[in-house]
Symmetry: C2
């Protein structure tokens, strides 16, 4: 049994310190409960800006916030840094890497992870972008390749080390591609005057016929236009079939020589073992309108991992931060009602719109309703919304300063290979990042 002090209050275990979990803990602050939060990291990750860490725009520490510090004001709160392996609903226990613990209520907020759809070759060689170490690996890998490009005399290898393929035309794919385009246009040619950047291709692959699938036609078309300005080649209706670390084979038969493939083509729920088969659907946990997991009384799920079918969201809500934050909030309210013996209230998602940025002065925003924005106004809105969402004043300030710096100097300060990237096949001792 994991040592947690005795309490006369019911124990709520929360798994995952992402947007949903952190919001929930904060909102439970003054309740007569004991809260135990599990996360495999000791920090919260602000995932929407991971791509800026990967592309040398931000330092990793500015998008991470220590969970213990963040949640210090919450009384009767305990944090345990550990991976949760499985849930035993029959005996109200969870099994973790540091032992077992029993709960009165369990809230699963484990988010999502990269979905490679079973393609082994891609899983082995492509870069995912869901965690800070992955972003740092990608940053190091790209820079290592440019260093290597300066010392090879083989023109094919030179090109292959400079080329970058991004798979998936959703917000992450578009944002990574745009940021790389900016690097190519303004920064890398100054760092590597020896290299011919007209030979470098940044290619964004999208399987469907338009970018930013969940957004308006206006947004898709603008994004496509903006990406061209940033020297990104967009291939629509194109998939990658296989990738061996040097050459990517596309569904149109084309072969692209590249040392770097970024995989942003899908995520799936990241749930612990032990839940009943009938509680799961499409790699997510099925919940009712109160976020209660199907087949259980005292287990809930919130955020990306939860699939709540409702009007307009027949396959569950989009796996986005705003849904997670709203469900965290709502869950706290419902737990409060539950403890008082009151009836629970159904969750209703308030869609505030969606957005994606391509680069300097270029973004797209779909407002609630039918209107959309592009260009500079959209870019300012995008920055403002992200800045206010970053947890912690210090991080807000550092990110803001970096952005101001990048904007006026056309520079990105963190082109650092702090730990050289070691390919997965050589990495025997590091935990697999999935």
């Amino acid at each position: 049994m994991i040592p947690i002090p005795e309490s006369k209050h019911p124990r709520i275990i929360i798994i995952g310190g992402g947007f949903a979990g952190v919001k929930l803990v904060k909102k439970l602050k003054n309740l007569p409960v004991q809260i135990v939060l599990f996360d495999r990291n000791n920090y919260h990750t602000f995932q929407p800006l991971l791509y800026q860490v990967a592309t040398a725009g931000l330092e990793p520490d500015s998008i991470a916030d220590p969970l213990r510090k963040q949640l210090e004001p919450v009384k009767n709160f305990f944090f345990r840094m550990a991976e949760v392996y499985s849930v035993d609903g029959a005996s109200n226990m969870i099994h973790t890497e540091i032992g077992v613990l029993d709960y009165d209520y369990l809230v699963i907020a484990t988010g999502s992870r990269t979905n490679f759809f079973g393609n082994e070759s891609i899983m082995q060689h492509a870069f995912a972008l869901k965690q800070i170490p992955q972003a740092l690996d990608l940053r190091s890998h790209i820079l290592q390749n440019f260093e290597a490009a300066t010392i090879t005399e083989d023109p094919l290898e030179k090109k292959s080390r400079m080329n970058i393929v991004i798979v998936g035309g959703g917000p992450t794919g578009v944002e990574v591609a745009g940021a790389l385009g900016e690097l190519k246009r303004s920064i890398l040619p100054k760092d590597y005057p020896e290299l011919d950047f007209s030979k470098m291709s940044i290619i964004l692959l999208e399987g469907s016929s338009s970018l930013l699938g969940g957004m308006s036609d206006f947004a898709s078309e603008k994004a496509l236009k903006y990406l061209k300005k940033f020297h990104v080649d967009v291939y629509l209706d194109t998939l990658v079939k296989s990738y061996d670390g040097h050459s990517a084979l596309l569904s149109n038969g084309e072969e692209i020589n590249t040392h770097t493939v970024v995989w942003a083509a899908g995520v799936k729920g990241n749930y612990p073992d032990g839940l009943k088969e009938s509680s799961l659907e499409r790699d997510r946990i099925v919940v009712d309108h109160y976020n209660r997991v199907a087949e259980y009384d005292n287990i809930f799920a919130i955020g990306d991992i939860a699939m709540m079918k409702s009007e307009g969201y027949e396959n569950g809500h989009p796996m986005l931060a705003p849904v997670a934050i709203q469900q965290g909030n709502h869950m706290a309210m419902n737990l409060k009602r539950l403890l008082k013996g009151e009836e629970l209230k159904p969750f209703k998602y308030f869609d505030k719109g969606s957005m994606a940025t391509v680069g300097r002065n270029k973004a797209v925003v779909d407002l609630p309703g039918k209107s959309s924005l592009g260009g500079f106004p959209a870019w300012v809105i995008w920055m403002f919304v992200h800045l206010i969402s970053i947890i912690g004043f210090r991080n807000k300030l550092i990110v803001f300063l970096n952005w101001v710096w990048n904007y006026f100097t056309y520079d990105k300060g963190t082109r650092l290979i702090i730990r050289k990237f070691i390919p997965k096949k050589l990495r025997k001792t590091e935990p697999e990042l999935t």
Copy 2:
């Protein structure tokens, strides 16, 4: 042969992008020479603040500056990220991990590395603090131990995971100990309310009878007094004999249970192979008053690695940043003279004083001449001198903001375990950091 474009100008190879190497390259800016800089990292490390990265006060990216960016204004400049293995003075060649390259002039500026004085057990288990990954390892290791302390029920293990021993009472040892004392006093008890911090010991060991050996008696005594205020126990005239990762055996027979030993007790020169025996002394390269390596005509050495015997410095200059910067400057001037066929000028070290900080409002400064300062004025001078010395305006700004933040909030923002520390014996694939 490493591919470097042909040039009609003589080629100067510089090994090492530390204080000496960077200063030299910058000063060679407008000379009719081709410059090739080698470093195993793509960034310059501001070593004097490494201890603040290790103790969660600063993000690593704010004390690292990309060499390519830094040296962009220098024309006819080439950077190669590679370790230099050896020097072949007879054929004017260096051998590196990416191939060989010939030079007209060679400047060795490879600095120093940790000296464990052959103690295998300490080398295996203690933490050194000369490189950014080492600082990040130490930060992660300390935080991982606090996480582990919360889940052990064995009181001895709990104490051992909280205890920290620092070996070496020079500036680095004093600074690390002070910063850890601050963490213990103001920050960790808030993060870990479950732990009893009266059980945590921070012990600084110094083999001689006073701290800060190179500084004034005033400074030594003040540092000792300040450290006590920060809850650091200082053991003078005490060495560590062995350490197995859990228990440190001291020269006074005492045994201290600790999972963390920081080794700040010595450095030694870090020179490439191949130099003549007679060019070396006490792990440094012997140079004349023009920084020319003994026994060679066109090989020079500057910074920590260079041992120039001169009046008042019979065993060479202290291995400090100001010496390196002054030698970098002077070397540029002498290379200029050499190219013009003029006589070289001897180097003379201008001692601007020395300083060390213990923590908030507490530092010691020995000014040139006989006067010394302590307390708040010394602390302000220390901060000012370090801020203006950090390379790059963006880094200056971010460090300054972090310090202001830490000062007013009594908080340190970067208590992050971004990559879990893996003990050396389990690390098979990562390069050994020495």
